[in-house]
């Protein structure tokens, strides 16, 4: 009889089973065996059996390793220490099989054999090792051209969508930007010196497949300044049904109803078989391009909108990023962007309270004050609407002569 009857229930069903996977890995790995036992205990008790640790790492780095200890070391010694190693992923999460096999071999030798591909921030997350393995893991990784990711109050590992490597929507070279920024800011990544964490995510277009607007303190989202490129012959093919919107089972496109009438700015019209776009009024929402990718394409004058401040709820409530710079060119070596971030970090360093994300600081001191301090001009693109309350703190007064 199995000693893990509860989690065994998760072996059933058509979706890939992590329990089945851990079980077959447990045949060769004691840590996996005890992990299953500990997990069974959580399923029985309806509570976690982990404690945080915190004070482990590799020499010189303040990030990349998360200490983790079980609350039942005497019952399940195999997982009494079960630390996480974050390995900085290659941009876009592309791998050669030889690179991945190297990581597997490393984790077979030094860890539980379990991973997350990938963690929420973007790293390769290697679950379960002990303190005495950490230096060896780090040495081995760096010998093979790999490095650790971030954790704690540092710049977290930047991540990005696959951008120009396989997507015609990409207005910026997300992978090149991600790789460059990661290398530029190695010190900020490995030696935490900020008031709190700082995440950067780079999306190639406003579809934002990496959720940068919801999940990163600094969202870099590709956009374009010129006109949507239009292929009238292909528009006609969509109209006739020769081309379809393949992402739906019933993909026949009704250009008037599905494209023009769904345009949020009403900047399109379709008359006499001719699709017209008033590009001046297009807000770059992507709907029409998503629907007819063979007929409509993003413009050629690409760059990025820079938004700041997204975070999860704790402490002051969840935030989405909001606009700081409506358009910035993102060509190497990205100096204008790096100088902007430098000014932002400088200001946050001096004014951020302990454990205050940049989004929370902006709300606390006022976005108007913040943009002034980091050297940007206040512009209406930064807000949904001007204030409706009259509580204005004027900074200039006339004095009697």
């Amino acid at each position: 009889m199995s000693n893990t009857p509860l989690i065994d229930e998760l072996v059933k069903g058509p979706w890939p089973s992590f329990i089945k996977d851990i079980k077959r890995t447990a045949e060769k790995n004691e840590m996996c065996k005890d992990l299953l036992n500990l997990l069974e205990m959580s399923y029985r008790d309806k509570k976690t059996h982990w404690k945080h640790g915190g004070i482990v790492g590799v020499r010189g780095y303040g990030g990349g390793i998360i200490g983790r200890y079980s609350d039942s070391p005497e019952l399940y010694p195999g997982v009494s220490h079960f630390h996480t190693v974050r390995i900085n992923q290659p941009a876009g999460w592309f791998y050669s099989t030889s690179a991945l096999r190297y990581i597997c071999d490393l984790w077979e030798k030094h860890g539980s054999g379990l991973t997350n591909l990938h963690g929420s921030t973007g790293d390769m997350v290697m679950l379960g090792t002990t303190t005495e393995h950490l230096e060896d893991i780090f040495t081995d990784l760096s010998e093979h051209g790999w490095d650790l990711g971030g954790s704690g109050s540092d710049m977290r590992t930047p991540s990005c969508c696959l951008g120009k490597s396989r997507c015609e929507f990409a207005c910026i070279d997300t992978m090149a930007i991600c790789h460059d920024l990661t290398n530029e800011w190695q010190d900020e990544l490995h030696r935490p010196a900020f008031p709190y964490k700082f995440k950067i995510k780079i999306a190639g277009c406003p579809n934002d497949c990496v959720a940068s607007i919801a999940r990163s303190d600094c969202s870099i989202i590709g956009t374009w300044r010129d006109n949507i490129r239009q292929d009238d012959a292909a528009v006609a093919k969509y109209a006739s049904g020769e081309l379809v919107y393949g992402a739906r089972a019933d993909g026949k496109v009704d250009i008037k109803a599905d494209v023009v009438d769904k345009c949020p700015t009403g900047c399109m019209s379709y008359e006499g078989g001719k699709l017209s776009i008033d590009n001046k009024n297009c807000n770059r929402c992507m709907h029409c391009i998503n629907l007819m990718p063979q007929a409509l394409r993003v413009g050629v004058d690409g760059g990025a909108t820079i938004l700041l401040g997204a975070k999860a709820p704790i402490v002051q409530g969840a935030l989405l990023s909001s606009v700081l710079v409506p358009f910035i060119k993102m060509d190497p070596p990205y100096e204008e962007f790096k100088e902007l971030i430098g000014r932002i970090w400088e200001f946050w360093d001096e004014n951020g309270e302990a454990r205050e994300r940049i989004g929370e600081m902006i709300v606390r001191i006022g976005k108007g004050n913040f943009v002034e301090e980091v050297g940007c001009d206040p512009i209406p693109e930064m807000i949904c609407e001007p204030r409706s309350n009259p509580y204005i703190f004027y900074e200039e007064y006339f004095e009697e002569e």
């Binding site: 989690i7 992590f18 490095d147 997507c167 790789h179 709907h287 999860a312 969840a318």
Partner: protein
């Protein structure tokens, strides 16, 4: 004595070494794409080159055993290259159309569903849960497994009005920021930490414990002659930070921890602006190993949406059109006082109009 100098700060390997030759050759030169069928994309370059992508599901928590099997397939069909997506799917790319069907057959034989493209439910992004986290109110991988077992037909087809994105976070810290998902499943603690006064003085540094609370709800206190702390319960929002620094203050409470369901968020800018998810169900019981209440609740919302939404409408866009009263009516969910916000800027969520449907 200073330790010897080591190799540090070299950064990740360059992505260039990780790209399939056909991806490298067409980098920045893509013209368009087609979603040929669920889980299969074809990208076309300016040059006319074609690359086929097959997307498979993954549990995200995967072992080296599984990764090596994925590598075997990539060696067999994709010249030794593969990638993972932002929603933890695995993608195989090849310029050989003839490889697509055999690859799909091999994936299916391995137990990997193929799909997750277009108007589908893609993989559920999620957190560590009981597998590896000290502040989790529930498991994450287990909840994902049972919900996707229930919804798998929506992964392998493209029959929904639009994309539907589900996320699971096992507590309010939301490592997997779920707050902008079409459907968010959120583990919740509902009670302040308990304090083991006998152990606290020995196990924990009191100033550190006091300082750990983001709401300043913890104060030093003498309890029955022992140095300990007290918690101002009205201020606590169950983040578990104190437990992080002090194991004598466990936040987990098996009797009260549970799961809440949120709906209508999105991150894409398509048509409408990105939106937060809003509360649909304030509490469901924590019922491992298969959480039937949770998978039923999610399935119900998905099915009502699938029937009622118009083409291309995301869940949030659908609800904004029909209105929240109709959302609760159609989904047969109870509306309670907990649905009415009472945090910062709550008044901006009140209905100050006579726009009411009868």
């Amino acid at each position: 004595m200073a330790a010897p100098k080591r190799k540090t700060d070299i950064g990740p390997p360059h992505y260039d070494q990780m790209l399939h030759p056909a991806i490298k050759a067409n980098y920045g030169k893509w013209k368009s794409h087609q979603n040929l069928k669920p889980g299969v994309l074809m990208h076309e370059g300016e040059s006319g080159a074609k690359v086929y992508t097959v997307r498979g599901a993954s549990a995200r928590l995967i072992s080296i055993t599984t990764i090596r099997e994925m590598c075997d397939l990539a060696d067999k069909y994709c010249d030794g290259f593969l990638r993972y997506t932002s929603r933890n799917n695995v993608e195989f790319m090849t310029d050989k159309e003839a490889n697509v069907e055999p690859l799909i057959a091999d994936l299916k034989a391995m137990g990997v569903p193929v799909g997750g493209t277009g108007s589908s439910i893609s993989n559920i992004v999620h957190t560590q849960g009981w597998v590896h986290c000290h502040s989790s109110a529930t498991d994450a991988s287990g909840v994902v497994k049972v919900v996707m077992d229930e919804l798998i037909d929506y992964f392998t087809s493209m029959s929904l009005p639009a994309h539907l994105r589900i996320a699971v976070a096992c507590c309010l810290n939301m490592c997997g920021a779920v707050h902008c998902s079409d459907i968010a499943i959120l583990g919740i603690h509902r009670t302040p930490p308990t304090i083991d006064h006998d152990k606290l003085g020995n196990m924990c540094e009191i100033p550190t414990t006091v300082a750990s609370c983001p709401k300043a709800a913890i104060r030093p206190a003498m309890v029955e002659g022992k140095q300990s702390v007290e918690v101002i319960e009205d201020l606590c929002m169950y983040c578990g930070n104190c437990y992080t620094v002090c194991p004598a203050m466990p936040i987990a409470n098996p009797l009260n921890d549970g799961i809440s369901i949120w709906v209508g968020g999105k991150v894409s800018n398509s048509r409408t602006k990105p939106m937060f998810s809003k509360l649909a169900i304030p509490y469901l019981p924590n019922t491992p190993p298969r959480w039937p209440e949770v998978s039923d609740a999610v399935k119900n919302i998905v099915e009502v949406y699938a029937r009622d939404a118009k083409k291309y409408e995301r869940v949030g866009e659908w609800i904004n059109r029909i209105g929240w009263p109709q959302f609760f009516e159609k989904t047969n969910l109870e509306f309670t006082k907990y649905h009415i916000d009472d945090f910062t800027l709550a008044s901006s969520t009140y209905n100050s109009s006579t726009h009411i449907k009868f």
